[in-house]
Symmetry: D2
Subunit: 147 residues, 4 copies
């Protein structure tokens, strides 16, 4: 596998995930090159990220502000196809005062890594769009999830 | 062209349109069959419908309620491809007290009909989801647009 | 429920379905009106239709030609939201020599009908785009599925 | 503007772009948070990248292999809304023997930076999925475009 900046040891990194969500690849997410379009993994990242946040008691409207992505990156390690069975692993990494990192690992039916990625999340006030400090409650849930 | 229930005479029907918007077909809107996916025309209908409503002074937040589709149908007359240049014609048809019909005609770079469609629009209150009667101002704008 | 042309008796029609697939509504399929965008049901129709065809032994590359939609229509009976749990029922209806109808019924977590729809399918030759007669094998599978 | 790894001096970087394509934000690309969904910029990146490649004489089927993305990253500097007028600038950067980098800059109607991004492109053989060396002809076109 090619090396990527946010992964030091791929084996250590892979073994640090536990949460995953199965992803249903949709026919409309393929393109005329015959494979899954490069935009689609970001749809999957969002689906898996929200499932993960829900699993730790977030993304239920109880938080101050709305969680939005500050940046997002994806490495495409292997082409994906309509018939693929994708498991998308998610973990939280590096929790700061106003933001936290989410890491992503996509694995197909042969346990081959198809996608890796990461992205910073922040909470913003929906009206003003201004960042909101992470509450202690949010931090605790994220820290608990990363233990 | 195959016959469709909402078109009596195709020539008369075609000549009844004047407003159109050019549609940029996106690569991600194709699928692994090599053509434009069957979901994509509904993206184009929405884009053209909103451009049309804006052109007659609607869809600017000034109306009571939000315009939503009550039903939508599309006939695919000819496959579309990534390189196609699509013009999507829109007109309003049959304005009632609480709803109106929008008709759609898609034509490619060779003036061949690729898509026809129609769908009923209603205004609903965003909070309750309940239908709102069309105001005289909205009706006037739609009637004016259909003259 | 409002009446639609392809449903005579809603109770009879509903009870004629047996196959369904659960649909995962994605966050990116909502829109700024706060609900599921009107384009998204056609993504769901496609997902459910393909699952249905696979369940009867089709859509596996063994057929002559590729199955494409000739027309598609959707009635929106109830707004859908991100948190909804959608079951999408599919059945085949009216099998002809070169085409067949697929009917769709979407039901939410409260057993309320949110979507109904239908659309004609044809098989076309992928290169020429010309319609291909339904083989006896395809017909048999569809007829078997509709019994 | 927050700092990002692929930009040393934002002013120098901004002034190094010349090609851009206007992007039509679609209603279906917004989400229930009221803004443009985080997936949508990758649709825009692809649209602008293909327009750019076409403008330099590529992406016309004449090349050996198909251009695919090896990685992609996006920094969201400012929320975008349905009414925004987006210009997406594209340039090629760092042309290697088998791959090249594409940089992206999104600017709204107020000349505010909303998006920055980058991603590596490779050509692969469509059947085998294996990387193909960049031909001299492709390299020349890319080098010419970056002068």
């Amino acid at each position: 596998m090619k090396s990527v900046s946010y992964i030091k040891s791929i084996e250590d990194w892979k073994s640090s995930f536990s949460f995953f969500t199965p992803i249903k690849i949709r026919f409309s997410e393929t393109d005329m090159f015959g494979h899954v379009n490069n935009v689609s993994p970001f749809i999957y990242f969002e689906e898996a990220r929200i499932e993960f946040l829900k699993s730790v008691g977030l993304f239920n409207g109880s938080e101050d502000g709305i969680p939005i992505v500050a940046d997002l990156q994806c490495d495409y390690h292997k082409q994906m196809f309509f018939s693929d069975q994708l498991r998308l692993y998610v973990k939280v990494n590096d929790i700061g005062n106003t933001s936290f990192d989410v890491h992503y690992l996509g694995v197909n039916q042969d346990d081959a890594v198809t996608l890796t990625g990461r992205g910073r999340m922040v909470y913003v006030d929906q009206k003003s769009g201004k960042p909101v400090k992470l509450s202690e409650s949010i931090k605790e849930k994220l820290i608990h999830a990363s233990e």
